[in-house]
Symmetry: C2
Subunit: 363 residues, 2 copies
């Protein structure tokens, strides 16, 4: 998605600071890579290109505001710690594209495609696609390692890092587990709303929102009441955010989402939206879904036919209602935490803006 | 390779202790995975099966003896820290098999093949191979994350872990960089001895031997003199070990190496052995290599023809001489370090045994 988020919440100009922290970290790593071999230049170039593209920096933003919510003061150390999540996310995306065989990411060729193109351009031996896959697997691994390195070297005191380590471990375990469940859902072709919601919970609610909030709060020494307040906001927001993503994946404008129209339908993604449709579908509508969903050669007519089913069954409307309910729940939890003084008031204002922006219907 | 190593150096019974530490760590992680979803049972089962197979535990052994060499006392904490390297290595192997499209690992189906078989057995939707690849990429990622978790929770004091962090970061960076170079060498079909030696240096000398030694020594607070002494032993030994592996990959008995005869030749591995052969080959011999090396359908006659070239060009003999020279250099460095008291004497005895066992011609 290319939805933009508030760039300068509370005057912190977080997006630019995350970008700068990432750029500095990669610059500091370059000599180590170059020392192994100058042939690694395309590896560093690709990681830089992938990371320094002005993404939304959602996970760093939640980690930063989790820190602030727990009473931590602004500073570059926490921005560096939060930015490490972008490297973890880069690993997830690069590997995800390999697993899905996706051609593009954010409107540019996926990493495995870039290395396949390099192979082809250089007329190397072997199969370009196999080289591309191998390079992308290794680049993802490298980003995963670097996320750990960047967090360890953020400059926060060792006690802070020690407090955050279990959260970070859980977050990464849930990421990998959630990705596996996602792949499994496509394979078993589940049609159950509950199973689709479970994937959304791990892939987005926890990984994108709750755990980053907890990571920041743990670094700041937030207690259990702080963590609970952040969960009460983060989990429903995460669900709303994932559902918005699902809706945009089917109905979004390609110029805004950065992916071809109907790509999620071609991939056969088992979203809550699809599960809702199947739960309410007539036999004829069910047949349309069975025939078209997951067809890699799905054309514009096919996309239109599936969209029609999602609208006519009431699935789109039901999903929009779910988004509204979840967002309201998240904002209510935030108000309660601000009112009781459990979370810092400035942070609550920023988290409210983030929530609204992350679940908006359009850019 | 299935070459065995001394199991009870200095009465420490290291192999059994590493196995126990890994089993306990995975048992402790099981509830977290199960909490995400019971569907993750095959993931845990596969990791356990992969890790608790009685492997050689080379990297933990070098890490443990690096610790002892620097004067650290025996204890389960350091065994747990050292065992974390097996999880890192599991990631490397699982991803390596995906990248190479290997069918087997240690005589059993590769992880991606197992999950493809699960997909086929359950008659799930989609392409079994794609599911297998996705699962293996994620399992490797999970092992990489767990290696980090296991090290962080080994029980050694935080200062020890902090000292070791830069070594661990460098080790992981070099692993991923070395793997990329390895893939690149096959692609550019390099015939240069120097380039092949560079890959051997990163993939084995540093990753398998020098960095594990340094990791253990850093945990124990070893100074630069200790690290240098370990490098003087570890780097030449690593080269000898990789060259032995290359020789066994071509000439080894499948019942001992655990892989089909000639697999390295079918893969087109650009080893030092091959580079030496090409450097000395007649045009006729060169043509044999060009025609057969890297042919995925290479049969027994083809393997025999390539072996003949490797012998007749003197490449095998030259490689054996390199192994002997490098092993002698490693052992000489060890004697010097023991004599000067830079390294602990018991550790030097164990490292000598490890060196000889790791480079032996047969099991």
């Amino acid at each position: 998605m290319a939805r933009s988020l508030p760039t300068a919440l509370d005057g912190t100009d977080l997006l630019a600071r995350v970008e700068k922290a990432l750029a500095e970290f990669l610059d500091a790593q370059a000599p180590a890579l170059d020392a192994v071999a100058p042939d690694l230049a395309p590896v560093m170039g690709t990681v830089q290109d992938f990371l320094l593209d002005g993404g939304k920096r959602l996970r760093p933003a939640f980690a930063y505001w989790g820190w602030r919510g727990a009473g931590g003061a602004d500073g570059e150390e926490v921005v560096r710690a939060a930015s490490a999540l972008e490297l973890l996310h880069a690993c997830a995306l690069i590997h995800d594209d390999v697993m899905d065989g996706s051609d593009t990411r954010r409107g540019k060729p996926a990493v495995h495609r870039r290395f396949a193109a390099l192979h082809r351009g250089e007329r190397w031996q072997g199969v370009p696609e196999q080289f591309g896959t191998a390079a992308a697997v290794l680049l993802g691994d490298l980003c995963l390692v670097w996320s750990d390195t960047m967090l360890a070297r953020c400059g926060l005191p060792p006690e802070a890092l020690r407090r955050a380590q279990p959260v970070y471990d859980t977050m990464r375990l849930e990421l990998m587990a959630g990705q596996y469940l996602d792949v499994l859902e496509q394979a078993v072709a589940s049609t159950e709303v509950d199973r689709a919601l479970r994937v959304a919970r791990y892939k987005t609610a926890k990984y994108t929102i709750e755990r980053p909030l907890h990571l920041g709060a743990s670094l700041a020494g937030g207690d259990q009441a702080v963590l609970d307040a952040l969960s009460a906001y983060g989990l429903p927001l995460g669900e709303a955010f994932q559902l918005r993503d699902d809706v945009l994946g089917v109905f979004g404008d390609p110029s805004e989402t950065g992916k071809p129209a109907g790509d999620d339908l071609r991939e056969g993604k088992r979203t809550v939206l699809v599960a809702e449709a199947l739960a309410a579908a007539t036999p004829r509508q069910e047949a349309v879904v069975a025939r078209l969903l997951g067809d890699p050669r799905l054309d514009a007519d096919g996309v239109a036919a599936l969209r029609e089913v999602l609208v006519d069954t009431g699935a789109l409307e039901a999903t929009e209602q779910r988004i509204t309910r979840s967002l309201d729940e998240a904002l209510g939890a935030l108000d309660a935490a601000a009112g009781s003084g459990t979370l810092d008031a400035t942070a609550c204002t920023a988290l409210r803006e983030l929530a609204v922006a992350a679940t908006a219907r359009t850019v």
